[in-house]
Amino acid sequence: MIFKNLFVLCFLLITGLTLKAQSGSVCGKLINDSNRAVPYHEIWLRGTSYRTFSNEKGYFQIRNVKPGNYTLICAGLNIDTTETTVSIQDGENPYTLVQAKESLHKLKEVVITATRTEKELTDVPIPLKVISGEQIRQMGSMRLNEVLSEQTGLAIVTDHGTGIQMQGFAPEYTLILINGEPLIGRTAGTFDLTRIAVGNIKQIEIVKGASSSLYGSEALAGVINIITEKPKEKFSANLKTKYASNNTLGISGDANVNIGKLGIYLFADRYTTSGYYLGSSEDKVVPPYQNHTFQNGITYKFNARTQLSLTGRLSFQDQTSTYNISESNQDTYKISDAGRQKDWNINPTLTYCLNEKDKLTAKFYSSRYHTNSTMTKVSDGSLYDESYFTQTFSQPEIQYNRYWNSKNETFIGIGSTLESVNASRYTSMKNFYNLYIYAQHDFTILKKLNIIAGIRADRHSVYGTQINPKLSAKFKLSEKISFRGSVGRGFKAPDFRQLYLNFSNPIEGYSVLGSEEVKYQFDKMNQQGLIDEILIDPYSLQAIKAENAMAYNIGWVVQPTSKITWQTNFFRNDISDMIATAPMAIKTNGQSVFSYFNLSKVYTQGIETDLSYKILKNTTLYIGYQYLIAKDKQVVNDVEQGLYFRKDPDTWQTTRVTKKEYGGLFNRSKHMANIRLFYSNPENGWGFNIRGTYRGKYGYGDANGNLILDTDNEYIKGYWLWNIAVNKRVFKNITLQVGIDNVGDYTKPLYIPSIPGRILYGSLNIPITKETLKSNNK
């Protein structure tokens, strides 16, 4: 039967090939060292886009190959990557049997984000974590924030949206990528993670440590790359629906179609929620909203060497919230705020393999993000305020990869970024222009030592030139123990509001001016007689600089047995020129005029450790922990000098803050941990998981006037969140899931609006394959 199938395949191939001169085919079987077939593993010819998977019996075939000598590579989870030299003649070629060594660790996952080249996870010299699509499904998550909240060392923080804190950095310092390209549209620095649906995610890669040598601005704390599903060889489709507390409904579907050289992947997602109240809040802390997301992935193989891919995303979000606004004359209005958000991106990419060793990639990524908000008074429906924000981003880029040999690989790339922003709080449309060049060399010496050296230069129209190098190394002491370390520089460009904001609060009366606007707007205010006292002369100011950091990471990966992986990473980040607001003048109304300055120096350091232990065949336990210290260097110094004080608000007793009492930056937990147990039995279709995340105590804000964290009442107590989920495959591969998020119903009204209390849910996953369609027709 097998051989018959194979014969048919090869026959079809040959007949196909007779139509086209000078092309050959290779077919064969992939087996492991115990002669068992290895199904569903990736097989490709190096330096070409000829690529396929072994089928369920381990057979594979690659068609329409230009005759010549190739290296056939087989890789995947269960085997060590194996290279075989094949000589492909015109027409039919001999059957190739590839025997691969069974992988010791079965953890071979290919990742791309850390080095911008495909590399096995265990070979990456940089701290990197992968969350698989399978794990996301088991967790029952619908939005990206839910997935990231359970990962070691990441904390969810809410500031104009739900963002992520990494290695102690605020959300604005982590670059969020989709398929390697930046997602735009941040509010006050936060990219709202609830915007991202997770139903089409193949895997999420989280890189820790400055990565500006590859990605430029914003990659200061690290990079989160969302990799979406790509077109597959076979037709498949999937429908999923989930209903949860707070009237939350998610419906998503995807489909894979393959027509000859054309592969199409489509995804659509609809998410609606009624939002929720917390504590005794008068208005909903999370307002009702609905989101629609569409994503596609199209690939077209012109020929063996040339492939075009086109990925795109379109998303709408509508929400209506109500809240009270009090004006300085004590009038209070109930306001209804209707907001709409729309963003799209598109990324055509052309890949051309010159030969087995040289590859060119050209792409043109474009994206647009738009929001508008209309505020009306609930009492009479009259307009209170209207605002909008529009950002565009386009980035053409060319990259050349050279594969020298199995020990040396180089790439170099050049690109430019054109950005524009227009908003009601800016005086006019603003444009940015950035030209960049980057290069990286990856080499292995002495068999055990792998070194990657990279550098990138950015020349920007506003903030000048940035040069960011990075050096990383991995030393494989043995099969079981390896050490890795990296040193790199990262930067974050001043964002639009820091440069161009021109905002006067109509209620409080203070003003905030971006550093590029400050002279002009300040003069204008002065002429209008609005300035009472000048604290900092705007003409004495220098242009604002990009924030930058040096990042050091060092750690190890230990795999004592095939069941245990233990990773540990020590990190230290020294951040300079951090931008903060400071008053520069006093207005005649007594309020201040603020602008942005390079003010502070901060450091973050800590340890992150992760253990995964396969207790039983189908059961894996994960334990993660992070210890973090994040402090402002100036404050540390001033505390040492005895210049910080605090007043007991009850006794009015003023005392000096000691070094030990200074708790560092607000919103950073010294201890964070997680423990997760996953059980999944593919044979009987049962799955179960229980996940706990701990966020240690952290400072929420100043309560005694010195603006720093130093007393117990400035902390929020540590807390655990527990989630459980059970799933069962029922009729025809349909999977039913029920679960409870936040089992303990933990909430902290006023302080943590992002935690909604206990959530119950149920979901249904319906896969559709050719086989199921056929059986339905019968």
Partner: protein, 201 residues
């Protein structure tokens, strides 16, 4: 050798510390023993937003009527977050003030010089958040909090010295002022006035 060095350093440090303490003991004492600081509660500072100052005399430990604003009877006056002293652009007196960073109780002696008077472009006690006596918390609570460890040292209209610590900007000095607390512009402060003309408190 290393251990010995450490020991040596330890001994040196110890002597340094003890000698410091000795210095303190030898410091000159105030000529007149002063009583506990006087606590003044709920001085309104333009509560009705009329642009009016409330004037205060340390010697009298009392407010001075607004009709006497052009005299040297008052030392210091309050309007919202602005504090003026009777000098320069603010009044006919020769008062001055400066902000000393430190503990109120520890400040045993007023600085000999460094006193500023009010003028058209700046006040002796600077206004604005973080620059003078208070911090404004901004979003989301909009609370004015006196910066702890800021002592206002005032050279009064009659040439005497007083040290002042602002305790609260809200009526009845609540421990935690509420969100956008509407009871602002009520000062609570404590002070020590040295009537003998010396700089010692």
């Amino acid at each position: 050798m290393y251990k010995l060095n450490r020991l040596l350093i330890g001994v040196l440090l110890l002597t340094a510390i003890t000698s410091c303490n000795k210095d303190k003991d030898d410091a000159p004492q105030p000529q007149q023993v002063l009583s506990e600081p006087i606590i003044v509660k709920n001085i309104p500072a333009d509560v009705a937003s009329l642009g009016h100052y409330t004037f205060f005399s340390f010697k009298d430990n009392d407010t001075i009527p607004r009709s006497d604003s052009a005299t040297t009877r008052w030392d210091i006056a309050f309007k919202s977050t602005t504090i003026i002293v009777n000098s320069g652009s603010s009044g006919p007196g020769a008062a001055g003030a400066q902000i000393v960073v430190g503990l109120f109780d520890e400040l045993a002696e007023a600085p000999a010089n460094g006193y500023n008077s009010d003028n058209a472009s700046s006040f002796a006690i600077p206004t604005g958040t973080g620059t003078g006596w208070y911090n404004y918390s901004g979003e989301p609570n909009h609370v004015i909090t006196p910066i702890p460890g800021r002592v206002l040292v005032v050279q009064t209209s009659d040439g005497k010295y007083a040290k002042v610590e602002i305790l609260s900007f809200y009526k009845d000095a609540p421990a935690t002022p509420a969100y956008q607390d509407p009871t602002g512009r009520w000062y609570t402060f404590r002070y020590i006035y040295q009537p003998d003309g010396s700089r010692f408190f």
